[in-house]
């Protein structure tokens, strides 16, 4: 046997048993009526998929997930690109600023969610109970259905703009400064340089950033769970929160598995669309 396979086998065995097998198992579960603490798991075909896709919870979560994922991806992209462009310039204290901007990315999302829940709180939060009432805004940000979604999006922007920023900055730094200089000598204006040189050259970085951010936003659980648990009502119940509710609150693992598979296909679909559209 070649030495490569000897080195590979331990990892392969582990990955097969903890990743590959569970993946196949997921499809198997989704085709059965699999409810915890209930005897018997009869094969039900696509019933789980039918029940999940036709439920009103699914439609609500589709709406919430769409708003959440779309606005968070777009806003973190715009912010991240802006910050990356600024910090690609010669500025004093550039390294310190970069580190601070990168910081939210490594912070436990649960802590990020709690920090925002704390400052936005209507009774004790510095923003929700002190600064906002001072300017005449009396509503509770996290208890009001129409404001809660916006609040969890702000927290997501806070924690994930860092990743956009770092990917796009890496893309910008790979562009040779000679190109800018040559364009300037030829008399190109700054907007022209941006749209004809910078943008085409960092396109691969942009695509990667958008795909990764989309997948990430689509799957966010921790910050939303800590801030609102999907509430008030179902105002912030994105797909992962719906899945948690079905699977681990109602113990209907079959339906939760079906939802996970639906999410997987949505992820793949949008990723392919993004790659095709932008490339």
């Amino acid at each position: 046997m070649r030495w490569q396979y000897k080195f590979l086998i331990p990892s392969l065995v582990i990955l097969l048993s903890i990743v590959a097998f569970p993946t196949f198992f997921l499809f198997y579960i989704s085709l059965h009526q699999w409810v915890l603490f209930k005897r018997g798991m009869p094969f039900t075909g696509i019933e789980n998929f039918y029940l999940i896709l036709t439920s009103s919870d699914f439609l609500q979560s589709l709406k919430v997930s769409l708003i959440y994922t779309l606005s968070s991806t777009v806003l973190t992209f715009v912010l991240g690109l802006g910050l990356a462009l600024i910090l690609n310039e010669e500025l004093k204290g550039r390294n310190v600023i970069r580190t601070i901007i990168a910081l939210p990315l490594v912070i436990p999302p649960v802590v990020a969610g709690f920090a925002w829940k704390f400052v936005l709180n209507r009774e004790v939060g510095i923003i929700g109970a002190y600064l906002l009432p001072k300017i005449g805004f009396m509503k509770s940000l996290l208890a009001d259905p129409s404001l809660a979604l916006g609040s969890v999006i702000v927290a997501d922007i806070w924690s994930k703009t860092s990743l956009m920023f770092l990917i796009l900055l890496a893309g910008l730094q790979a562009v040779s400064p000679d190109l800018y200089e040559a364009a300037r000598i030829d008399g190109a204006s700054s907007p022209q340089i941006f749209s004809y040189i910078t943008l085409p050259l960092i396109k691969p970085a942009i695509i990667i950033a958008l795909i990764i951010r989309f997948i990430d936003a689509f799957n966010v659980f921790d910050t939303i769970f800590v801030m609102t648990s999907g509430g008030p009502g179902t105002a912030t119940q994105t797909f992962p929160l719906l899945g948690w509710k079905i699977g681990f609150l109602y113990f209907n693992l079959g339906q939760a598995a079906a939802l996970a598979i639906v999410m997987l296909f949505m992820t793949i679909g949008v990723s392919i669309l993004l790659i095709r559209r932008i490339m």
């Binding site: 080195f7 590979l8 331990p10 990743v19 198992f25 939760a256």
Partner: protein, 275 residues
């Protein structure tokens, strides 16, 4: 003259935008940290005191009692993940870097696709499997669950790095009669050390910060720090200073590792797509 003042205005605007953003980033964190040094009464006070005598009551509460256990659990889970992932990831990464067959390319793609799958799709079957082994609410369960995220990531990153090391280095040693294990241990690991340390730091942090898997797989005995913070944040009787103190303690690895990790984190979190 006009050009110069125009440039100054531009610089001023850029600094202004950056400053606003930095306030946005730092404000919630600093508020969290300063509240952890307050008493319950001070933390609830509106308008807040900006000058007060700091108290360490919240930290005493956080580190005494049953909560210290969560920190121990988190440390054990994270460190054992680092150890296992390095052991397995270095050998597998090295092997994959030297396998130029079709199959290895497919394995690479397969490993990469784990990143695409919703975490939720992994945890449902994993929960059923671990439950059938009666492993729910054990540290082992959380360790295994974190391995599903960390091992593919580490293999992929290390494979990429080993591919960049010139092959002459290893070939010379083969001619001299060294075994593959010796080459890896004495030649390649020292060369790849920066990446290995980065992978270790990244794995530690991902494991330390991870919530969903740990939350579903544990209840009381094996809960990690994020699970503890979330469960306290979900109760109705809020002890704000205590929660702030716990959160602040949970932040320490992030603060320690962010400076070092910055160079590698993009590579890590984009699965090596961006270098």
């Amino acid at each position: 003259m006009q050009v110069k003042s125009h440039k100054k205005l531009k610089k001023f605007t850029l600094y202004l935008i950056i400053s606003i953003y930095l306030v946005f980033v730092l404000f919630p964190l600093l508020w969290l940290i300063q509240s952890s040094f307050k008493s319950m009464y001070q933390a609830l006070k509106i308008p807040p005191d900006f000058i007060w005598t700091p108290t360490f009551e919240a930290y005493k509460k956080a580190l005494g009692g049953g909560m210290l256990r969560a920190f121990l659990n988190s440390a054990v889970v994270s460190l054992s993940n680092v150890f296992l992932v390095l052991l397995l990831g270095i050998t597998a990464g090295y092997a994959l870097a030297n396998l130029k067959t079709r199959a290895s390319q497919n394995i690479g793609f397969w490993i990469l696709s784990v990143r695409m799958a919703p975490a939720f799709g992994i945890i449902v079957p994993l929960y059923i499997i671990l439950r059938s082994f009666r492993l729910v609410d054990t540290i082992l369960a959380v360790m295994v669950a974190h391995l599903t995220i960390n091992l593919p990531l580490a293999i992929w990153l290390l494979k990429g790095y080993f591919e960049e090391i010139p092959s002459e280095l290893a070939e010379a040693a083969v001619v001299d009669g060294a075994t593959r294990g010796q080459i890896l241990l004495y030649i390649l690991i020292p060369v790849a050390l920066p990446m290995i340390v980065a992978v270790a730091a990244l794995v530690f942090l991902l494991s330390w910060n991870e919530f969903l898997f740990a939350f579903i797989l544990t209840s009381e005995q094996a809960r990690t720090v994020p699970v503890l913070v979330a469960s306290l944040a979900g109760t109705m009787r809020f002890d704000w200073p205590l929660m702030c103190a716990l959160s602040t303690l949970a932040l320490i690895p992030a603060f320690v590792l962010v400076v070092y990790l910055q160079r590698y984190i993009v590579r890590g979190l984009t699965f090596g797509a961006v270098k």
